[in-house]
Symmetry: D2
Subunit: 405 residues, 4 copies
């Protein structure tokens, strides 16, 4: 019997897909789940459930450390945001999940992989493009684009027909994706962009009103752009992020509400919680302000925009991402130091910045004279800096009309 590896979550959809792959194609189905920090409840009993639903075998891999260190932190160092706000928590997880599926597929000699992403979203692209890049010969099956099931009711009917256990939990009026970096919410009641998200939706962060009335202080230490310690204590990546999530969530930091442009051509509305990640981005930027020179920072802003697009579009395994990482690596050489943040009811303020490689030179910044800077030089600088505009004014009188108003 040919084999297929299915990205399996234990929910209704992938359970139905699991069975459908057997019925429709006669596949032996290998269930694959990556633990990216979606929470213990999600993974509990997953193996049993998969086998009960008909899987021939089940792989559950704890990839949290890999996720943070090989995917999230490089992205953090790039400064990438999608459309200026989204910290890319779902996007960045997809290539890793797909890589895991491909590894299992190759090991098991499967001829195909399958996923439960719908035909309107970004995730289908991210999964499939990754598979194409890593194992171009593998077949990819995306049931939502081809089967007859059209709704949750159809899926439940299908599940009942095949004795697949249907989760008893009340379905939420939106869909969620969770990992150690973030939770995303979209669809359902969130589809009206004029409607606020309900307060009880948020799982990782308190609201500012419910947060403590005392500020919390946290110092994040980076080495070459990678967070390595909190409050002076070195931590492994998973602990560090869990701790930051707790502090930031408690203090109401990390919510984003965004109308965004999907890769597949339409606008959609997403709401995100990225508590620890928000602190990391904030602190990392502050440290860059201290340690990067102006021209590098400026070019890196353009790199960050492109990097965010690459991650959002699922192009992780592309030559351009690798080349941008080489650029970023070079820029992060001296992004080492400590940023102290004060958190209070959703606000982040900087209470300290320190780096052995700081380019901030107190003597220069003050308005007093020093040996490095002769104020008279500024006159020469301005004369040359302004020369093109002056010449244009002399030769063309470009802005004369401005003087009349």
């Amino acid at each position: 019997m040919p084999k297929v590896v299915l990205a399996y979550s234990g929910g209704l959809d992938t359970s139905v897909i699991l069975r459908w792959l057997k019925e429709e194609y006669g596949y032996e189905v290998i269930a694959f789940a990556a633990d990216l920090g979606q929470g213990p409840d999600e993974l509990k009993g997953l193996e049993e459930k998969a086998l009960a639903t008909g899987a021939s075998s089940v792989y559950i891999q704890d990839l949290r450390k890999t996720f943070l260190e090989e995917y999230v932190f490089p992205m953090l160092r790039s400064g990438a945001l999608y459309e200026r706000k989204y910290l890319l928590g779902t996007s960045i997880a997809r290539p890793l999940i797909a890589r895991g599926m491909v590894q299992v597929a190759l090991k098991e000699g499967a001829e195909a992989v399958a996923h439960g992403a719908t035909g309107k979203g970004n995730d289908q692209v991210r999964f499939e493009v990754t598979v194409k890049a890593l194992a171009p010969e593998l077949k990819i099956i995306a049931p939502w684009r081809i089967w007859e099931i059209r709704s949750r009711k159809d899926a439940i009917d299908y599940a009942r027909r095949y004795d697949i256990p249907v989760p008893v939990t009340v379905e939420k009026p939106y869909s969620m994706d969770r990992n150690i970096w973030h939770i995303s919410y979209e669809g359902g009641i969130l589809e009206d962009p004029h409607q606020e998200p309900p307060e009880d939706m948020f799982l990782l962060t308190r609201s500012p009103a419910q947060a403590p009335d005392e500020p919390a202080v946290v110092e994040i230490s980076f080495e070459k752009g990678v967070p390595v310690a909190l409050n002076g204590t070195a931590m492994d990546s998973v602990s560090l992020l869990n701790t930051l999530n707790e502090i930031a969530g408690e203090n109401a930091v990390g919510r984003v509400d965004l109308v965004e442009n999907r890769l597949v051509g339409m606008k959609s509305r997403g709401v995100y919680e990225t508590p620890g990640g928000t602190l990391l981005y904030f602190a990392h930027r502050e440290l860059e302000q201290l340690t990067l020179d102006r021209e590098t920072m400026r070019f890196k802003e353009a790199v960050a925009i492109k990097y965010g697009e690459i991650v959002y579009y699922g192009l992780w395994y592309s030559p351009l991402r690798r080349a941008l990482d080489a650029f970023i690596d070079s820029t992060q050489e001296k992004v080492t130091g400590d940023i102290e943040l004060k958190l209070y009811r959703g606000n982040i303020t900087i209470s300290g910045r320190r780096s052995p490689y700081s380019l901030y030179h107190t003597g220069l910044a003050t308005f007093e004279e020093g040996e490095l800077y002769d104020q008279k030089d500024a006159g020469g600088f301005i004369n040359l800096f302004g020369l093109p505009l002056q010449v244009e004014a002399l030769l063309r009188g470009t802005w004369k009309s401005e003087l009349e108003s």
Copy 2:
């Protein structure tokens, strides 16, 4: 007697400069002050003071409306920030003040203009480059770069010698620049980037802890990217900004603390309050997310970075700024609509977004089928979108090593 126009604030520095220009060059000094919303105290008695100090005449112009409509709002529409945080409140004021000086100089037949900006800052560049662009034949005098006065004490001594009234106010341990858009603070105790700014420094915004415990709601309406109404009431630009400053300041919105790269080559630390402006930027971006297509938004991100640089560098009167404005005008054609914001102790959340030109299409965004979108199309899209990576994988096996880890 030849004439000079001096940008005069009534403070110690420009008072001393006023007299120094007479003593040093034998100039007849015309004092010029622009009311950009720096507050009534700043302007009170300015004329008398200038005349008492030796000015031959005084121009005080209320340019608040011009400032907002011809300088600030175009910048707002561009989305420009400097180094991702600074809303450019000081930078954007400089070309207007310089233009005012030049207009007076031409009217009065002055041969020179003078300003009190120091030789280490950005403002000297902004003033002088603007003068060069508008009236390349005018002489520019920057006393701080040439005279012997080196410190506040030197200035006070000079003032006493010439009976110039020395302000009795206690000098603040930092310097400030204020207009209707913002206040900036820098120098003095702020020069240590590891030191938090003192709470009592802030004049426009409460701290989150001191803000009311009830959220405030404000709806901002834009027409072609320009803010035109609050809570449904049309307002002139000055009233609109004053109102927004009050609401935002009351609710602790609008502080920024930044180590930034000055044009003249060093890093410096600035702290800024831009309460109303922060709301405007936030709301304008949200409206763009709703009304701009993806590719326009993406390119506009690059334009915003460049525009921010242009404003910060004082290149307002440059052909590139004008060409970028033409680009921006075109993008803002449909940036019309209402954004409702909820403010609470420093947090801004979106409680509503609405535009007659919204490109958000609910039918498309839902995960259900519709006539515009056939999910099967996504399969074809992904195949072509992923083709380059697939071909590379087939021909080169680029990422094979990724599968071993």
Copy 3:
């Protein structure tokens, strides 16, 4: 009977499509052909042929002037090239042809448009995206993606079956697309990128060896970036381009041979002749060097890359193209003047440049002193310009290892 408008060329393919649309869908077929300067032979007898093949009516529109003035010249002013070499002659024609089809479709009340572009090329995208942007409700039929005809032999068989006249001309071992701006060649014997194109393929240009041994001189005059005169004689756009094509072609100017990246995901090889266009691009750039300031030029280089992508991808009717045009319009305000070129066996050299708005200031460029430029200013300029690197060297000793080698 429902109607369809077909982009009809009179060749075998679109003749077969014409009939196939009637047979397959029962459509009344309206043949549409745009005269873009593909040459008189192409259009001769087109109407009779279409009617004989079964068209219910035929539209042949001379759009050469529109093509040049509304499509080609804006592109020229943008400086757009695709992948640094291709002057976009086929790409830029597609939105205009599609617009013509849509106009006829709306006038005739047709429900669909059809084209003969294959499923592997860029043109299908350009045609269809334009139709979607202009008339989103129109159905689009692309027979090559759906019918059973797979080869030229299949098409001939089909033609014979329905008595469609098969062109007697010997088929060329590559495919061509021609208009007043260029000819493109691709496919067939050109598919091997290691193989030179045969000399007898080129229709518009002599080879350098066969060109005259005397240089030809031509002076091109631009007004706001638009070419308006040759050798001092004002000319309408069509005459101007025809004349330039002749001069350039005679002197072996305008061939390009390129492996390029198609939008649909693969690399392909194209060979192009754009004789007059090459002169226009060359001359326009020279004039910009004389009349644009440095910062505008630099940003415009990025705009040109994006513009080239937009044209190549068929996104002419997109908000971003329009916004970029607004930018470009502003930059071209002073791109007025005369560029004299000397052509000799494929070489273009500049024998003169002149503009009333030249920013070249002889006094400044010479190495002698003048009142505008004080060489001492350069010292100050360098000190500030180099300050960031100097500070980095002092604080970090970044490049010390460079001194050892």
Copy 4:
């Protein structure tokens, strides 16, 4: 006696400077000359001349290999041009010469370096910024900005006064800079941009009319973007470039005539000969077209513009250049292969392209079906690719007015 290291060429200017440094400052002057391939005549007798003029010691270093391999080839790989035409031959030499001076200065314990660049050009900036980056404590002396000598006549007078040998060669009516990569010409009779350069000025290239009437063929092989062999024969960098210069020069390849924007704020006119370099750029680009994917190529175009600016501005020893090099290194991983060029009277055509890493896939490029590409996919691709424009058209009718014309 304190020491100074002078960049010494043996010409009138640096000879006078040598003596002036002794007279003015009492310096012991160490003459430094780098052999970058400026030709044997330039270096002949240099040591004797320097000592005769008063140098205490002389360093002449053959840096041709270093120049090509550590400076020129990285720039070649970046694709950098300045203002789309200039191959940066003078710019790229400056940081290496300055590095050599600094090395000697440190070795000799000199307190200063000096150069003969004028106060209006770019070279002063390039020299001095490099010195600041490498040895920020060194004093820099630029006599042309400070002394009283204003003209060639002044310099000759000074030389005579101090018995400095004045070169008997007739001075050329323009100035030149030569190295193994190029010759630049500027100033004098070239200052009128409406005037063609005289044919007898060119030293490295024949004119197209004087070139042989038979094409020459040369195959250039690259490894990771670096040229390593000609016509199948491996060559060291210096031989390779000398050979290419000869072939290209003989065949009239490599002249550029440009009005360019100097860093110091004015436009100037430069004429350049870069025969071998032109072939290398051309061939390298072709190889990239074959071996780089589209998105990497596109981003690299932006990198090339920035890289060109960095080199032109003398910012070689800047963190951004290093980070861009890391990006470029990554992109060049597979830029290995052979490009065959045919040269004929100034024309370069490609007669062959070959790479083991070619991404050109013949099966894909043909218009026939294959297993990798299903033409039906194109329909889905277009539908999603065009969706934003279609939605905009439906919701806004943006382009309706286009249909009326």
